[in-house]
């Protein structure tokens, strides 16, 4: 099916898309140059997802698209028409019991338990990336977790505790 936005010089060439964001279906009109990150933060007030570098280098903007982790800053919203998006605000809703303990996803609880953050700016991306990593199921060992999390930079240097938290949740799921 061919969908065209019309002329690039037209002032109002917005395109209608449908996204399911944290379980809620949204019908949205977006300009084609709007990134998923800017849509979430500027239009939908889902400011948990952070803009760090805005160039795919830091991972702070990581969200789940159809369960897969991607950099929302390098994703044009219009191209994800029909997708399911999960941001840090929706992680608890993914937990088995609907909310998890204390209304948190197990990975969020584990980050608190293991002191896996300091300033917290990278944390929403780290959390979404951790869930994506566990969905992928490729990383098993500590070295593999470290390698698979290399797209998320933490300038406070909480890496060791982040790996502890992920290992903890993975071992809990294996039990």
């Amino acid at each position: 099916m061919l969908i065209e936005s019309g002329s690039p010089v037209a002032a109002d060439n917005r395109i209608g898309i449908s996204l399911t964001i944290n379980g809620q279906q949204r019908e949205l009109q977006v300009a084609p140059w709007t990134t998923l990150l800017d849509l979430l933060r500027e239009r939908l007030d889902l400011t948990g997802t952070k803009k760090g570098c805005d160039h795919g280098q830091c991972g702070a903007c990581t969200v789940l698209v159809n369960g897969t982790r991607v950099n929302s800053c390098l994703t044009l919203a219009v191209m994800k028409d029909g997708a399911e998006i999960t941001t840090v605000e929706g992680l608890a809703g993914l937990a088995n019991d609907g909310a998890g303990s204390n209304g948190l996803h197990p990975i969020q609880a584990a980050f608190i338990e293991h002191d896996a953050f300091q300033c917290g700016y990278c944390t929403p991306g780290q959390l979404c990336s951790s869930v994506g990593l566990m969905n992928e199921g490729h990383a098993k060992s500590r070295d593999e977790i470290r390698e698979a999390m290399s797209g998320n930079i933490c300038r406070c240097g909480a890496y060791t505790n982040i790996v502890d938290a992920i290992e903890d949740v993975m071992q809990g799921e294996a039990r």
Binding site: P8, H55, G56, L74, L76, M79, S129, G132, A148, G151
Partner: protein, 337 residues
């Protein structure tokens, strides 16, 4: 980012049609490189043709090899059970590059078509013959740590940044393309170009042509392969030098040798004479050193990247040793055995 027209194509024919008559159009799939370049105003397309809905995501058996759909993501390919078992060289090269998030989005076709990460190419305040033909190349005589030592020209010393392509070059993959003039096959060695006097052209694709698949030949070299990548940090960094090595052995004698280098040229760098030199030789260090010496003899480094010559020489020897021993470089255990 500039304003642009957006077209979502449902078939290859629609995509090719949407490109026709729009010379400033770009195809977009994963977008991990193109959207970034648009944010820097390096790319200012008048039209984006979204090809993500085309039926090109599959990985299929073909003629004893595998056909990788152009829209199979880097992660799809790297974790495909057949690729891991039969083409560990390709799986390891892909996993040596980028981050998990980027590999989940980036496509096979897009990996081939990504642009150089030369700082001057990215900085629109500086001249660059690749970005603006005829404006000059400040990397020559400038900051050239990441730049090429082979196949350069007086107009451009940029490198191709891909890891995946280095493995595809060693495996002698074939690129399937479609365009206004129909379909054709391009051997991997002829897909990318050296800069010459037209560094603005990275590949030999004609305007409006689209990559539809990459074919892996039946010959897979089994476990006698390695992808050895040397870089400034142990993950999520482009190669300073990388080596894809693949050998076929008769006992201790080399029957076939493939050697491709990344991070050192405008395209994955192969040297037919070095590969031929290895044939019939014992699979041992002296043979590998002779081949490495032959390769680096042609290097023409800048002041800023002269270190790459010795780095490449040693990486070739070590890579061939890993391939001969059937002990590919581990992606997670960073120690170089």
């Amino acid at each position: 980012m500039n304003r642009f027209d957006y077209v979502r194509a449902g078939t290859v024919a629609e995509a090719v049609q949407a490109f026709a008559g729009a010379p400033d159009a770009r195809f977009i799939a994963g977008g991990t490189n193109l959207v970034d370049l648009m944010k820097y105003d390096v790319e200012r397309p008048g039209r984006l043709v979204d090809i993500t809905r085309l039926p090109l995501t599959g990985i299929e058996e073909r003629d004893g090899g595998l056909r990788l759909g152009a829209l199979a993501t880097n992660a799809d390919v790297a974790y495909d059970a057949r690729v891991r078992e039969r083409y560990p060289l390709l799986a390891n090269a892909i996993l040596a590059g980028a981050s998990a998030q980027l590999r989940n989005a980036a496509s096979t076709g897009g990996n081939l078509l990504q642009r150089t990460r030369c700082y001057y190419f990215y900085d629109t305040a500086t001249p660059c013959n690749k970005r603006e033909p005829g404006s000059g190349c400040p990397a020559i005589g400038g900051v050239s740590r990441i730049h090429a030592i082979f196949g350069t020209s007086e107009h451009c010393i940029a490198t191709h940044p891909s890891d995946m392509c280095v493995a595809l070059a060693a495996l002698e993959a074939v690129v399937q393309v479609a365009g206004p003039a129909g379909e054709r096959s391009i051997p991997f060695a002829e897909f990318h170009r050296l800069p010459g006097d037209a560094p603005e052209r990275d590949t030999n694709l004609a305007p409006g042509e689209i990559v539809v698949a990459v074919d892996l030949p039946a010959r897979d070299f089994g476990q006698n392969v390695t992808y050895l990548k040397l870089r400034d940090r142990l993950s999520y960094a482009f190669a300073l030098v990388s080596v894809a090595a693949a050998l076929e052995l008769d006992g201790g004698t080399i029957r076939t040798a493939r050697l491709a280098l990344g991070g050192v040229a405008h395209k994955p760098w192969r040297n037919a004479r070095a590969e031929a030199l290895l044939v019939g030789k014992p699979a041992e260090r002296a043979s590998f050193q002779a081949a490495a010496d032959l390769v680096v003899a042609e290097a023409k480094p800048q002041a800023g990247n002269a270190f790459k010559v010795e780095l490449a020489r040693r990486a070739i020897v070590r890579g061939l040793e890993q391939a001969a021993a059937g002990t590919p470089q581990s992606i997670t255990d960073k120690r170089i055995q």
